[in-house]
């Protein structure tokens, strides 16, 4: 019967998992920040267009208000998307974690 050095296996898994967690969190935080900033930038540009169109009479006051409220709804949809992305990242992390544990243990058997 083979002898397993469980302390060594656990130590290897701990190191791999720590490295994986750090890289996953850092990558996701950068992506989420960039997405949110891009959304705000796009919204600012749209708002400027509507103000010009309102002043030129192409949009009515009711049109303008509806578009601004639409922006608020889109921001909520964007926030939901970010929450969804974070859950996907969490699931991807779980898969990577399982793969790491499996590879580490199999390589030591």
């Amino acid at each position: 019967m083979a002898d397993f050095d469980f302390q060594s296996i656990l130590s290897d898994i701990k190191n791999s998992v720590t490295a994986l967690a750090l890289s996953t969190v850092k990558e996701y935080a950068n992506e989420a920040k960039a997405d949110a900033l891009q959304f705000v930038e796009n919204s600012k540009a749209n708002l400027q267009t509507w103000i010009v169109e309102l002043s030129q009479g192409q949009l009515t006051q009711a049109d303008f208000e509806d578009l601004v409220m639409g922006l608020k709804d889109l921001m909520q949809m964007n926030a939901l998307q970010q929450v969804g992305f974070s859950l996907i990242e969490a699931d991807q992390f779980k898969i990577s974690l399982l793969n790491t544990v499996i590879k580490t243990v199999v390589s030591l058997i």
Partner: protein
């Protein structure tokens, strides 16, 4: 008689652990049908919105047909497990008291005709809303990749 080695048990346990992932996922996995539905409905919605320069009553049939298609897609999304976030996105898009597609249709029905500058800008918002739904779907994990 040959005895089973401990390493065999360990490998079997690892395989079981890998297969148990599906049960502990926090969000629904990628669904090709849902993705196609959202991108296809986006095209239909934007085409329908162009009709709002004309009387609602003359386009009512086309609007009702579109709404039926959208309700079917919504029902499909509602019945997918762990799909609450996508369903909440659809709720915002379809809300008749909101300011995206549902609100647009209600306003068209009430005012009969809408002006072209408003339609152009609202189409951009509705287009973005559909992109947010399909963007989330496309990033979901494909079930065929879980065991790789």
């Amino acid at each position: 008689m040959e005895t089973t080695k401990p390493s065999h048990y360990l490998r079997m346990a690892l395989v079981l652990v890998a297969f148990s992932f599906a049960g502990c996922a926090t969000i629904s996995s990628f669904d090709q049908y849902a993705y196609i539905q959202s991108t296809s409905l986006k095209v239909d919605a934007l085409n329908m919105m162009d009709l709002a320069q004309n009387n609602f009553s003359t386009n009512e049939k086309a609007v009702l047909e579109f709404q039926t298609k959208m309700q079917k897609a919504y029902e499909y999304e509602k019945n997918r497990p762990k799909n609450e976030i996508t369903v909440r996105q659809w709720d915002l898009l379809m809300d008749t008291t909101g300011h995206l597609l549902g609100g647009f249709i209600e306003r068209w029905k009430k005012e009969q005709k809408l002006n072209s500058a408003y339609i152009t800008e609202k189409k951009k918002q509705v287009s973005t809303a559909f992109d947010l739904i399909s963007g989330l779907e496309s990033k979901k994990i494909n079930p065929t990749n879980i065991s790789q």
